[in-house]
Amino acid sequence: MLNINGVPSKTLILSRFPDEKYLNKPKAITECYERIPCNPCSTSCPFGAIHIGEDINTPPVVDFDKCTGCGICVYSCPGLAIFTVELLDELNARFKIPYELRPLPKVGETWDGVNRAGEFITKAYIEKVSLKEKQDRTALIQVIVPKKYIYEFITIRSKL
């Protein structure tokens, strides 16, 4: 239960995903379920794909036809509550996740992939690590995980 332990229910999670047919290209998933005063995801999107509107307490709604999965909202979200997901083939999915811990992973490494309860679920292959100045110290980590975990995978953990 989100209110009790910080873990959203499966229904809540699914409510933020588009139909899988959209996921042949990367799309932003906004895991922001609560009315809080915040709108950088919407104002940072260069494609006008995230709608919040006048009342900044309104949770974001993504227009998946406009979303290109560029990842700008991922590092712009103060709550680290956005990631992108893309289905690569029958077996694998690609995520872009925000990451604010150090050390950063290195391309080619395999880290632990964890779920929203913080439990290990799968191996995550680090495909790309980007940390440009405009990202303001929030790194974007591109990882490959098995497709069957697209609704479970949320972040990576160092094996140290």
Binding site: V7, E34, I36, P37, C38, T43, I56, S76, G118
Partner: protein, 359 residues
């Protein structure tokens, strides 16, 4: 005696913002700050802020501090800043007495904005004075200002935004956060902050609190217990956790003692965190030309404190005859920003509280 139109007490987000809009209106001010640097609590907020662009959302607090400081430094002829200075007396005729190191200074103002912010609440439990037990603000100062690790294994008491955010920052600093305790049955702060901790493996234990701390010379372990819905401990659920630091984050109280000192009408309002002054829509207290901005008149996010500061600086200048060229436009904009920031469920307490102190 030094004479200045406006004295602003407190160089945090509210005070600095007030100095800016006052200066833009042409009004000179003196900002008094007791610590060695201005910026208030923002100087240790390493996380990105919420809100909208106008309140510097997605900018980290440490960088918002730099923006606000830069803004006031752009008016060297209108804004004077006095750091390491404590207000020791405040009088109804707008005389402020200051202590700067060993020097005693008297200032005559026409108007005063009190923007002293808030202090942390404490929690009563056995051995709560053992070394290793900190307020959350102290932990943040140690790690984010001075680069000192407060401990290796930490438990956080309180799941409001401050408790959740500082737990996350402790993890960023390489500290093992064992769990977060929350006496209420649900998490207090934004769920996005809670989810960020949970995915990193930190349990948030709702309906739990600390019973006692144990240690010879310093904190070695704590006993926690489970609470019923009336916040009484239930027998048989005690748990021992070995830690070397405990962080208390159970809310803030307005630092309103200067207002009590000059006899403004005050009221205890739980929704606002404690004793607060009655204010009109322009943040003026029951004593003419004594204004307030920021947490001193109700605990909120720093985003609101910034906007309250802008608004108060603007109206004080106006009242003293210094009219901002865009007064009407800005006044409406600041009011709308505050309404927007407070219109969600997390703004409910402040909405109810403000009704109680309206005059």
């Amino acid at each position: 005696m030094k004479k200045i139109d406006l004295v602003i007490i407190g160089g945090g987000p509210a005070g600095l913002s007030a100095a800016k809009t006052a200066a833009e209106s042409g009004l000179a001010s003196l900002v008094i700050e007791r610590s060695s640097a201005i910026g208030g609590q923002l100087v240790k907020q390493t996380h990105m802020f919420f809100g909208s662009e106008k309140q510097y959302a997605k900018t980290r607090g440490i960088d918002i501090a730099k923006i606000l400081v830069k803004d006031v430094l752009e008016f060297p002829n209108l804004i004077e800043i006095m750091t390491n200075t404590t207000v020791v007396g405040l009088y109804k005729d707008k005389v402020v007495t200051l202590l700067k190191k060993e020097k005693y200074i008297k200032v005559q103002a026409k108007a005063i904005i009190i923007a002293t912010g808030a202090s942390e609440k404490v929690l009563a439990f056995e051995n709560n004075d053992l070394p290793g037990i900190y307020g959350a603000g102290a932990v943040q100062t140690l790690m984010n200002v001075h680069g000192v690790m407060p401990g290796h294994d930490v438990v956080m008491v309180g799941s409001g935004n401050i408790g959740l955010i500082i737990s996350y920052q402790l993890i960023q600093a390489g500290v093992n956060v064992k769990c977060v305790l929350e006496a209420a049955s649900t998490i207090g702060g934004y769920k996005v902050h809670a989810s960020k901790l949970k995915r990193l493996g930190v349990d948030i234990k709702t309906s739990h609190s600390i019973k006692k701390a144990i240690g010879k010379d310093c904190l070695e372990k704590i006993i926690i217990g489970k609470l019923d819905d009336k916040w009484n401990f239930i027998d048989g659920f005690d748990e021992e956790i070995e830690i070397d630091a405990l962080c208390i984050s159970v809310g803030l109280s307005p630092l309103s003692s200067l207002l009590s000192m000059i006899g403004t009408e005050m009221k205890y309002v739980g929704y606002l965190g404690g004793l607060v002054p009655l204010i009109n829509k322009n943040h003026e207290t029951s004593i003419e030309n004594i204004f307030v901005a920021g947490d001193v008149c109700g605990i909120e996010e720093a985003s609101s404190a910034i906007v309250e500061g802008y608004l108060t600086g603007l109206v004080v200048a106006n009242k003293l005859g210094f009219i901002h060229p865009k007064y009407d436009e800005l006044y409406l904009d600041f009011k709308n920003q505050l309404r927007n920031l407070r219109s969600g469920p997390f703004g409910e307490k402040i909405r109810l509280g403000l009704k109680e102190i309206a005059r």
